[in-house]
């Protein structure tokens, strides 16, 4: 097996790669990792958002929010020759890390993130083919640009490939 180049995606960050390399984002808690893959040209992107939607129209940190983050990722993908109708989308994260009482933002932000991402994808008419979301544990997400396969690493559970 050849050595694969790893490209790290931080929190509120997005990276794109083509043909080869692995995009990786660590320990998604209530945040969501969103991967888009165009199998026609092997174009892969991985976005790590923190919150459901931007409240500021001139928000400079576009990748922090699901709405502005997905929009900017799709724009960048098309610049690299991606064709939206071919995109395959997989998401992971949106966990509830702490079982806190009441209906505070802290208690349900993971779920709100999941719903926001699903809504935006529906509006953009992008196929959401696999999702590893919710529950109460963090997930590391890896996207292989050669195949579009996504691996999910967690603590104390077997790795999932989707």
């Amino acid at each position: 097996m050849q050595v694969n180049k790893e490209i790290k995606v931080g929190i509120a960050d997005m990276k794109i790669t083509r043909q080869e390399g692995t995009l990786i984002t660590y320990a998604l808690g209530s945040c969501i990792g969103i991967s888009f893959y165009d199998p026609g040209i092997k174009l892969a992107s991985l976005l790590h958002i923190m919150l459901p939607e931007s409240k500021n129209p001139t928000e400079p940190q576009v990748y922090k929010f699901a709405d502005t983050g997905i929009r900017e990722t799709l724009r960048r993908m098309s610049v690299f020759g991606g064709v939206k109708s071919r995109y395959i989308c997989k998401i992971a994260g949106g966990a509830k890390m702490f079982e806190v009482q009441g209906n505070s933002s802290l208690a349900n932000i993971g779920q709100r993130n999941i719903e926001s991402v699903r809504n935006i994808l529906r509006k953009e008419q992008i196929r959401l083919v696999r999702q590893e979301v919710g529950e109460n544990y963090a997930r590391t997400m890896l996207v292989d640009a050669a195949t579009g396969k996504v691996a999910i690493r967690t603590f104390g559970r077997q790795e999932i490939v989707m």
Binding site: I11, L28, G29, M97, F98, E99, S104, S105, L106, I109
Partner: protein, 208 residues
Amino acid sequence: MEIKHYDDMGDIGMDVMREVGSIGTGNAATAVSGLLNTDVRITLPDVKILGFNEAANYLGEPEEVVAAVLVQMSGDLKGIMLFLLKLDFINAVTETILGFKIEDYSQMDEMAMSAVTEVGNIIISSYVSALAGLSGMEINLSVPAVSINMLGGILSVPMIEFGYETDKIMMITGNFILGQHKLESSLLMLPDIESLNKLLKKLVNAGE
């Protein structure tokens, strides 16, 4: 002095927070000493203002597993208290209270979890009560919640909580020293910006 970002705190603000931290952690150390029946001290607290990605690296590796006890603050001061501890500290707790040690996190049973939660809760409440006494603020605490998972995922909780107002988080941290051993643990106080303003105002004015 009214601040909009954690970065605007300046040297005086940072000094005040460090002072608050050392009184709070001193109180917490005394409480744990009683509980664990041994001499517990805490290092002088550090005040750090870090970006999201830096914060996880400052405290360890994002995928590293830790135990965390979280309490929400409300009332005059809003924010999150987070106590992070690793195996050595967990064992100090389970050995004293329950009489056994564990080898890895998967061996944490319900008893061990509740012992850790209780110790975290005592540390956090004694810290906050010192802070409340010092500032004359009324601070309410939520029921403690516990999680054993990747550090990065745990830290995403306060980051998201303050995500609409800041791209950075402010942490006031201290490490526990039990007898001669420095234990891998830290106590984090994460106030929101509005509360930080209130706190600084109270403390700086009180000193005049």
